[in-house]
Symmetry: C2
Subunit: 193 residues, 2 copies
């Protein structure tokens, strides 16, 4: 990403980021990501091409920024306020937040899934993005815990398990309640808790 998200944003920079991400989210809800081009995003957001390239490397980069915004809505970082949780509780907590995000954003996400192949680059990049965020979260969270297994390996395994269920429920369309999902998670992670 060309634009530095860590520095404080001017009002116009924020406007530009908002406009492009909103345009992208609108378009991927309407058509296949592969078919979207930069001019289309510029037309919809009413910004010139050069401005797009001031902020983003390419459309994949903008897509990543969209995922970043969307995942932020899950407030996964609140897990750091629950240091007393067991591994299983932390896992259920993270799962619930992602599950709620999917329910809350159901209209948008269903439209995206309807327009984009489950094995295409859009869905892959979304899953990869959530997986990455969850892994980072658990790297921090398990930091102080003791285990005879490598901490990061366990964190990755736990993240994979959460993502597996998210895929199963929302991408492969299986009707699973939160409680049932918790049951699955416990069976999958049982030995580690």
């Amino acid at each position: 990403m060309k634009y530095d998200l860590t520095k404080k944003r001017s009002r116009s920079a924020q406007r530009t980021l908002d406009a492009f991400s909103e345009a992208m989210l609108t378009l991927i809800g309407q058509k296949n990501f592969e078919k979207i081009n930069i001019n289309e995003l510029c037309d919809l957001s009413n910004f010139p091409r050069a401005t797009f390239y001031n902020y983003f490397d390419d459309k994949f980069d903008l897509l990543d920024y969209c995922w970043y915004l969307l995942i932020a809505e899950a407030h996964l970082d609140e897990l750091s306020n629950k240091p007393q949780y067991t591994l299983l509780e932390a896992c259920n907590y993270a799962f619930d937040h992602v599950y709620d995000l999917f329910k809350h954003r159901e209209v948008l996400l269903k439209a995206i899934v309807a327009n984009n192949s489950p094995t295409g680059s859009l869905i892959t990049s979304f899953i990869t993005s959530v997986r990455f965020t969850t892994r980072q979260l658990f790297y921090q969270y398990f930091d102080t815990q003791k285990n005879n297994l490598p901490t990061k390996l366990v964190a990755d395994h736990v993240s994979n398990t959460i993502l597996l269920l998210i895929e199963w429920i929302f991408l492969k369309n299986h009707d699973v309640s939160k409680a049932e999902a918790h049951n699955y998670i416990e069976k999958f992670l049982g030995n580690l808790c």
Copy 2:
């Protein structure tokens, strides 16, 4: 992929497929996948652009074909000759075959990893490709087994666990022997066996 891999290939078609996949494998061992363009592949393989587009949609498509060839070298399908295996044995068996593939193709794969970011699209697509193959394998394999969990969900979980260790060992460069890996797998899957 434009070319139908299921139909029998003419000699020239096989030559073309070989040349392009070899050119791609050579190039990704030398430079970053993002920087490779179609003309470069055509120069190296001595085929015209239009021939490339006769066979492949784009460079990602050719890359997928390369992964298909590489993964075939692991002979994962031989698992179907071992119907008596437990879930854990089957998992170790599949892991071993992928592990051996990485050892056997170490020079090529290390060069690829050295030239391509672990979070970039090349590595992601490779991992996704192996994951997909492993999942398909276990969908077949567990087909007749009984479990109070959905068969495909278990197959996906098992595949994820194998891939987790492959990533851990070969992409994140942790020195883990086969025996140690089997130990990890048992701890991660313990409850399901």
